[in-house]
Amino acid sequence: MDAVRRQFPYLRAKPQPVYLDSAAMAQVPDAVLDAVNAWEQSSRSNVHRGMHERAEASTIAYESARSTVQTFINATHADEIIFTKSCTEAINLVARSWGEQNLHTGDAVVLSILEHHSNIVPWQQLQERKGIDILWVDMDDEGGLRYDQLETHLQSGRVKLVAITALSNVLGTAPDLPKIISLAHKTGALVSVDAAQAIAHMPIDVQELDCDFLAFSGHKLYAPTGVGVLYGKRELLQSMPPFLGGGMMIRNVTTEGFSPADLPAKFEAGTPPIAQAVGLAAAIDWLKQYSWKDIQTHEQEILQLTIDRLKSIPALHILGAAGNFQFSIFNFQFLHGCLSFTLSSVHPHDLTEILGRKGIALRAGHHCCMPLHKRLGIPASNRLSVGIYTTKEEIDACVKAILEAQKKLHP
């Protein structure tokens, strides 16, 4: 574990930080910073826009990053990988391009109550413009989805798309994607997966999943901010109109109009996040030195310990599945990356501020999931999230500090 932590500049700080906010932003290892720096020093230049040596080196680095992402999620073709500025932009691309073209009055999009605002609002914006309906899938008391509701919605015959998270950024629960995708495809609906959280905690194989779109961003995968990825099946991306207009995305421009470029350039208007894409590829290469089995075993151990310790705190309530699990029957496949909790009579902002002053980073608020918090009947919660570098000592320090904060506010 020390060997992993030592590779992160922030985690080398003294006193040792307790960083339990990786679900918002993972820390970045030396290998990624070095790769970005190397590109800046020796290759910085725009891509696909010059005949000089640096332009070529930069283009090679950028396209190589695309291939690295392609291999990482096992896409069939490199041009099915679109670089965006974020996961949010990637989802908006699907809504604006595919949605504008394919959704019409009376059509429906299915969302789950677990969704992050970035996988809700783009569809609500379409709802206003196109007269479509949004059909919601609720959760059960353990944070699992009500698949019966999904089936009912799909049977209506109006559903053109199911937009679903691969991992809740609040409850840490993972919907059964193969089941959802198979059910949706049976009725002819497409499936768009929000993998913002999942990407750092579980292997993702888009061919095996057979999802139609999948989006994630770099900064939760130990990579720089400002880069996201949209995967889409080639025939879908080819049939879709461009999203943003500008340089790079055109084949030809005349005073009368334009014709769009081929994939992936069609969806990459303007100078792309080149340094960030290079950093993302470096993060993937760095992560791949560890096996998913080892990463998951470590993170599950930490989460199990967290649940066990948190349950010993009076008046602390863990949300969703993690709160109901008995330690012994903890389901290995069900909880990943984070969990959230409330503490009676202690507002999350007070708790996380007191913890923050001791160098312990947790996130408080609605975590961009207001509908989910409304469903849970609470305005806000505290979220504890883990990563490849999280230690048992961090959990112990956090639990101790929670007890102290509780005592401070209500002696």
Partner: protein, 156 residues
């Protein structure tokens, strides 16, 4: 950022100072003038107004009685973090007996001074939820349009 408060207040209350000072915690644990209902004697003429901070779910409701352009009675109810609740508790003491004119000139800095602890950008809205609610209760009384958060925060 806040207006006109970059001077002496910061020196007296450096950012390293604990936001949960004893006086803040005292108001949080034992809120003054807090009650679910307007005080009985003013019930008929009470102005009731609620504001909430959507980003964290904090809410404050104030009940005011105004006679001869002066606040004759104030009580409030609410839920939220220690800062928002303590600030409202302190503000209720401060507002009691004040004239409409005196309330109009009440500024964010007055609330920060009451709290006496450093309020960073993260907690500005917590600290000012009470002020925002009272200001809009006064506007309701005057039959004026509600003011926006930017106005309360002094950056409109």
């Amino acid at each position: 950022m806040r207006k006109g408060d970059s001077g002496s207040a910061e020196k007296i209350t450096p950012l390293t100072m604990d936001v949960y000072a004893e006086n803040v915690l005292d108001h949080y644990r034992h809120p003054r003038n807090k009650s679910q209902e307007p005080k009985t004697k003013v019930q008929d003429s009470a102005i009731i107004h609620t504001e909430e901070n959507l980003s964290c779910g904090d809410t404050v409701t104030v009940h005011l009685a105004i006679e001869n352009d002066r606040i004759t009675s104030i009580s409030w109810d609410g839920t939220g973090c220690a800062i928002s609740q303590a600030a409202m508790s302190m503000l209720s003491e401060e507002s009691s007996g004040k004239s409409i004119r005196e309330m109009e000139v009440l500024m964010p800095q007055n609330v920060y001074d009451l709290l006496g602890v450093p309020i960073g950008p993260r907690r500005t809205k917590c600290a000012l939820l009470g002020l925002h609610t009272v200001k809009n209760a006064m506007r309701k009384h005057a039959g004026k349009e509600m003011q926006r958060w930017t106005e309360t925060m002094g950056s409109s």
